[in-house]
Symmetry: C2
Subunit: 182 residues, 2 copies
């Protein structure tokens, strides 16, 4: 759970990060930035700030802002409504992102995600993305990612996004951010 | 037809425009920028410079660079292989773009495209896009667009792009750029 003030503060930080990178948002887009704490209430550790440009039945594009060291926790996108599920490409715009997915585990991964001692991170094939680098995650593939020490901006190009269907490895996680009243 | 030198010069200009906007490309992406003259050989008037980030069977993302006053000529994306055809969203990043599509004609449109006297531009519903503005074109819908006096950068988010299927109103147009030898 986050307070309204925490959400607004995170939105303001994300707007500043994007503006610094020359990415222009409308006032409405700025107000609608999604601040996701994945239900853990530790936004600085496990969280993501998301601008959704478009999300139709066929195409989705987002800008992901990650604060320094922030982790998007391990999940996969399952099949739905006759589709194979969400296919997504991450393109790093600023900073550095460590992306982990299925495949040969990297012997000495750069990241140690929060709550990893609970066994809720199971894929360790590391891909390092710096500005201009990108990587495509097929549907149904477990993945997680963490920003480097300067944070990151990542453009996401995908098929329809149905976040509520995402399957997280950590059973404590809920995709919907609950904002406290008052 | 364009000469190799013309292609390389346009690529270098596009790289500079993108770099100025803080958009980072890899060296390979810089070399592979598509310079489209639509077969008319008048790139400054009718043309487009295109970075393709990703183009799978499901998702496509591109960056379009338009020099000052450059026009992407009128076309539509037809159905193919059981799909309804390409759905695309244009998001203006820099400069200004005048987008024309089907709908109520704008009484005094801002643009007069090249070759319009030949009747090869038939849709005149004007949408002006400035940085942060975007618009989604449904499949099978005629559209064309022209950059303003400072040029433009437009991000395109779409379903699979199969440019060779595009149907242009102007019968003289071919989508594939022919580059002269030598």
């Amino acid at each position: 759970m986050l307070t309204r003030a925490e959400v607004e503060q995170a939105q303001a930080r994300a707007v500043a990060v994007l503006a610094d990178a020359g990415i222009v948002l409308t006032p409405a887009e700025q107000r609608e930035i999604e601040v996701a704490d994945f239900g853990l209430g530790e936004l600085e550790q496990t969280g993501l700030e998301v601008v959704v440009y478009v999300n139709t039945e066929r195409v989705c594009a987002k800008e992901l802002v990650m604060f320094a060291g922030q982790t998007c926790p391990e999940h996969l996108h399952p099949p739905f409504e006759g589709t194979s599920g969400k296919e997504e490409t991450f393109r790093c715009r600023r900073g550095r992102v460590y992306l982990y997915t299925e495949g040969e585990p990297t012997p000495t991964p750069a990241c140690r995600p929060p709550r990893s001692a609970l066994g809720v991170y199971t894929v360790w094939h590391e891909i390092v993305l710096e500005p201009g680098d990108q990587y495509t995650i097929p549907p149904g593939t477990r993945h997680w990612f963490q920003a480097g020490p300067d944070g990151a901006i990542v453009s996401e190009f995908s098929t329809e996004s149905r976040d509520e269907l995402d399957i997280f490895t950590d059973p404590e996680i809920g995709r919907t951010t609950v904002v406290a009243d008052g």
